[in-house]
Each structure stands twice: as C-alpha cells, then as structure tokens.
C-alpha cells in the first residue's frame, strides 16, 4: 500500500488524498491579466523535484508536498503556513474597478 504523510493526520493511504496542482505564488493583484491567466491556467510541468498542493479528503486539510515526480517519491510534506503566512488582501483591487 502506498502511503503519504499528512502533516495533520500522519501516515495515510494515498487513496485519501487528492492532488491540487503546483504551488506557485500568485502575481500582484494589479499585474497584467496575461500574467494572471498564466498563473491560473498554465502549469510549469517541471520534471524533478516539485512543490505541490495536496488535500486530505477525510479532514478537508490542504497541505504542501515536495515530490520527485521522476521517481514518484514524496520527499517532504508540511503545512501551508510554512510558505503562506499572511492573508492576501484584495480590497484595493475592488476599489479600483
């Protein structure tokens, strides 16, 4: 059985997890729409060690995994707070529209 370590729940069968895409930092809220479209729709599709969002479905918990996608080995998993420590404030964007 293939297992992954969830930072909240510990080791669990892979079937309890859902892939959530690459972890990339969003552009500034007033960046060019092309830059936003690239961030939303395009994948880097790197071969090697990548940083990915994963979701533990029974606990509705999102976390980050570093995975070597060539060897398909999960190297490390950790809570998103390690990278995302501040709430993104979009209020100024609403005011400019």
């Amino acid at each position: 059985m293939k297992l992954m370590h969830c930072p909240l729940n510990g080791w669990r069968n892979f079937g309890e997890f859902v892939y959530g895409g690459e972890v990339t930092l969003p552009p500034a809220h007033d960046a060019d729409p092309k830059e936003w479209a690239d961030w939303v729709f395009m994948e880097d599709n790197t071969a090697g060690v990548v940083r990915e969002w994963w979701f533990h479905s029974p606990s509705s918990y999102w976390f980050i995994a570093e995975r070597d996608n060539v060897r398909d080995v999960v190297l490390r998993t950790y809570p998103p707070e390690e990278i995302f420590q501040e709430r993104v404030d979009f209020s100024s964007e609403g005011a400019s529209q």
Binding site: M1, L8, N9, R12, N13, G15, E16, H56, S57, P58, S59, Y61
Partner: protein
C-alpha cells in the same frame, strides 16, 4: 402510544432501517432514538446516535473561544476531551472542533453553545444534518474496524480519546475511541447522505462477530 420516528420532523438518517429491525423508540429532545431491539443485546453492537444534537465550530479563534466558555479543549489535534457530563470536544485541527453531547443527555448544553457562537473568528459549523453519528460498542470493535479501515486502531496505538480522520468502508469518517459504559467503543461520524449505506456496511462487517444493532438503553 408508542413513540415512532414519524412523530417527529427530525428523524435519524437511517430510521427505516431501525423500524425494520423492530426497534423501540424513546423521545430525546426533538426526535426518536432507538432504545432497544427485540433480541438480546449483542456483544458487538452498533448504536444510532444520529438524532442527538451535536455541533462544530471553526475559525482562527475557535478553540480559544471554546476554552473560554468552560469547555475542555484538548492540547493536540486529533484528540478528544471529555466534559463533566460525559460529552466530548473533538479537536480536529488548529482551527476546528466538533462537540458531542453524552449519548444519554445534555443536548441543551450543545444548543446553548450554538446560540452563543459569536461569529467573529469563531464560526458555527452545523453538524447535526451533515454527519451521521454511530457508536460501535464491543471488545471485538477493533477487529471489526480492521476490516474497514487502514488506520491501526488497537488501544496501544489509539488510546481512549484518540481521533482518526480517515476512510472507513471507503467513506470519509471521523473515528474517536471512547468507553461506552465499561465497554470500549468507537464513535463514527460520517456523511449523512451515505448513512444507510454506512449502517449496512458496518452491520455486514459485524456479522462474523455476531454483531447487531444496539439501543441506547442497552449501553451499560
């Protein structure tokens, strides 16, 4: 006149199954709960606690607020703490808790808690309609669960008060080990829309241990 689930607007998600099994019911707060069945209580029993109140809170200040209201909040995630009346607070994460009353009462306490949730950084997560609540009670419960769940639930690894948010019979479930009277048990909280299927799957798995449904008055 005998109490039946149809007397109430609020009913267990599996009440047709309980009627089929010949359950006797009693009124608890605003619903009918199965109290006993027309057979001797099995050593491994499945109790339907779904009609009872329960609630949840979520938010950055949720646990801090709950503790300030006098509720016991466990120090670690995936741990449960008992209230004086026999209810439980299940800490599911740094920002989320699930509150269960004692199987035989104090639903009013849960109701009072729900009414006082402030909303600012502490949000109400209604759980009475979202989750079915079953109690698997009996010494053989751990062997039965081993058929349905990949997590090691033996007592040495999973003592009283431990919580696993995992898959049971391929259904996302919160499992919490507790004592039902003098007998070990597992509280099982899972998607209410799949409750009948879950009830049937559990009873099917319990067959080899001579298990069957159990009423709340048959819990020691």
């Amino acid at each position: 006149m005998a109490v039946t689930p149809e007397h109430f607007n609020r009913r267990s998600f599996i009440y047709p199954r309980l009627i089929e099994a010949g359950a006797e019911f009693a009124e608890v707060i605003d619903a009918a709960v199965a109290t006993r069945y027309p057979h001797d209580a099995p050593a491994l029993g499945l109790v339907d606690l779904s009609p009872l109140p329960r609630t949840g809170i979520k938010g950055p200040r949720a646990l801090e607020w709950l503790a300030a209201q006098g509720w016991p909040v466990p120090e670690d995630n995936n741990q449960a703490a008992h209230t004086e009346s026999g209810g439980m607070v299940l800490r599911l994460g740094n920002r989320e808790a699930f509150v269960l009353p004692a199987p035989r009462g104090d639903g009013e306490t849960v109701h009072t808690l729900e009414q006082s949730i402030p909303g600012d950084g502490v949000w109400h997560m209604p759980r009475r309609d979202s989750h079915a609540w079953f109690l698997l009670r009996g010494e053989a419960g751990v062997d039965c669960m081993a058929k349905l769940c990949g997590v090691d639930l033996r007592e040495a690894q999973f003592p009283r008060g431990a919580i696993a948010q995992t898959s049971v019979a391929r259904l996302n479930t919160i499992v919490c080990r507790d004592m039902a009277g003098a007998t070990p048990g597992f509280h099982l909280l899972a998607d209410s829309a799949s409750a009948i299927w879950f009830w049937d799957a559990l009873l099917d798995a319990m067959q080899e241990f001579d298990g069957g449904p159990l009423g709340i008055h048959e819990i020691d």
